[in-house]
Amino acid sequence: MASVKLSNVWKMYGQTEAVRDLNLTCADGEFLCVLGPSGCGKSSTLRMLAGLEHISAGDIYFGDKRVNDLPPKDRDIAMVFENYALYPHKTVYENIANSLRLRRMDKALIDQKVKKAAAMLEIEPLLDRRPAELSGGQKQRTAIGRAIVREPQLFLFDEPIAHLDAKLRAHMRGELKIMQRDLGTTMIYVTHDQLEALSMADHVAVMHEGVLQQFGTPHEIYSQPVNEWVAGFIGEPPMNFVDCEMVEEGGSLCLTHPHFTQVLTEAQAAIVRAKDPAGQRQVRLGVRPDEIAVLAEALDEGIKARVLVTEPLGGDMLVDLALGDSKLLAKTKPDFAGQRGDECSLTFDRNRWHVFDRASGLAYF
């Protein structure tokens, strides 16, 4: 078991900066998710950890040991590849057993370990097949099996369940999390799926264009995004953004928009004043769809908007709203009665909204 530390790590492919000045730590036995959109440098990071890619600058430590110059076989890691990378000419059994055979482990012990892993992944009936005869989900489980028999000090999983159907993915999320808890092995897990990251990880590192945006627990990432990009990336359906002015009015801070004026709470106002005491501020208000309450009738005190379309989702209902020029998405209950073109009134949840500096994108709160 080992903790992992990346310090000022860069990865350059020629002129392309795939990873920029990355600092990350992952405690021993922890489940760390690296989350980001396609092409943000997640795989590059993982491959540097595995030793498959040169580190352009910076250092990587496993425990106290600097591993920059260690080849993969000396790092004691087990990796699950984005494309599985199974040995096509070997059976599932041989694929899983390969690393143990390389270590010249006793045959009976190998057999026992392979069977145990196969049982855990429910691929026992497939042990004699070759990868070409497996479905995507079975290949993926074989790839995971190959990693877990090793009992390495670090797991590196690169979008291992990205290609599965939604139901199997939900199942595997649970399975993987249980497996990691049972084995207690440090895990670095790359994904572009926020649901995976939020549901499985102890800590999430959100990356964008090679830069670490935010590092924190899933709860922190969701409820206290550090900037507009993270706020917009995390959450499904995504957060609504509305451009506002922030002005002092009668001793309190207000957000003004052609269609509404909203007052910040005392605590929020204090944060803003402390961060930058300048008077007038160009800001962007961020509210998640489920933090907007919609009423189908136009009340005097609410913010007035017009219904564009309603999207029933079974247990919930999404309502597309027009607020002047801007559009908002609200999540309500399916009994919402508004129809296309109806006037309705909104209330924002003041305690959970976010305000960002429009120029820098950084969050005030």
């Binding site: 030793g51 498959l52 076989k73 890691i77 087990a78 990796m79 590849f81 494309n83 199974l86 040995y87």
Partner: protein, 292 residues
């Protein structure tokens, strides 16, 4: 998936094409097999019977061809008087030796060229295949001079080296294509499993085995059938079957019986090898194109 059968529709033209195809195949079969057949049968005849002619030149005279008492005397003579045992061994050692060396070094070079990026790689690769562009005769004289200087003329190692000179670039060229078709991720997985770089290379060898097998056969065939190198570089101590056969043609005495027997001894192993690995050879040569 759709079946791979080509759908065909009946029409008079189609029928004609079918007939022509059969006729063509029949003629082609006679054309290719008849000489081998005559060689095979004649090797069991003594000289008088071999040259017996029918009294009249009509088709009925063809039975004369089969009118003989079989004898294995030519084969016995070949091996007892003419040392064909040694020449057969020379042929086998020279062709297998050069094929093995070419494939071992060729696979390693092809692997490096397939996997590693370095400056001048394209030029290097072109240089390697360009050595095969000149006709063999063009380099024969300088090669002979070099080999003589090194004391390699008339020795088996010399002959093996000469064949390898020509097989190796070919091996690199063909095998690189096979390695290019194996995803690098498999070696990466092997390295994560605990392989060194070289072990990872060995790990993927089974995936290029059909290519290597097919190429091994091509190398063997090249050396086995070669006459030019064998007669110039190998002359003296490393005589191979084709050269030895040629020497049965003497100005005052062409030993037809022995020549026929020598022909059978030379052809049979390769035909047998071809039958043995026929399926392998076909998959090997098409695999590079088919795998994703």
């Amino acid at each position: 998936m759709a079946s791979s059968d080509v759908v065909q529709y009946r029409s008079p033209a189609r029928r004609l094409v079918e007939i022509l195809t059969v006729v063509f195949l029949a003629v082609y079969l006679v054309w290719t097999v008849l000489p081998l057949f005559i060689m095979f049968v004649s090797s069991f005849k003594d000289l008088l019977e071999a040259f017996k002619l029918p009294p009249t030149g009509d088709w009925a005279g063809a039975w004369v061809f089969f009118d003989f008492t079989p004898t294995v005397q030519h084969y016995v003579d070949l091996f007892a008087d003419n040392n064909f045992g040694t020449y057969l061994a020379n042929s086998i050692i020279a062709s297998l030796g050069s094929a093995l060396i070419s494939v071992v070094f060729g696979a390693m070079a092809a692997y490096s060229l397939s996997r590693i990026e370095f400056r001048g790689k394209r030029d290097l690769f072109f240089w390697i295949i360009s050595t095969r562009m000149a006709p063999v005769v063009a380099v024969m004289v300088p090669l002979y001079a070099i080999f003589r200087g090194a004391g390699l003329v008339g020795t088996l190692p010399g002959l093996i080296l000469a064949y390898t000179t020509f097989n190796l670039p070919f091996a690199i060229w063909i095998l690189k294509g096979f390695f290019d078709n194996v995803p690098y991720a498999i070696e990466e997985a092997a390295m994560c499993d605990g392989c060194t770089r070289f072990q990872a290379f060995r790990e993927i060898l089974p995936l290029v085995a059909p290519g290597i097998g097919a190429f091994l056969v091509l190398c063997v065939l090249f050396a086995w059938n070669d006459f030019l190198f064998a007669s110039i570089i190998g002359s003296g101590g490393a005589k191979t079957l084709p050269v030895a056969t040629k020497e049965l043609v003497q100005p005052q005495n062409i030993q037809w019986g022995k020549i026929m027997a020598a022909g059978v001894v030379t052809t049979a192993p390769m035909m047998f090898l071809g039958l043995l690995i026929r399926r392998y050879l076909v998959t090997g040569l098409t695999m590079g194109a088919v795998r994703e």
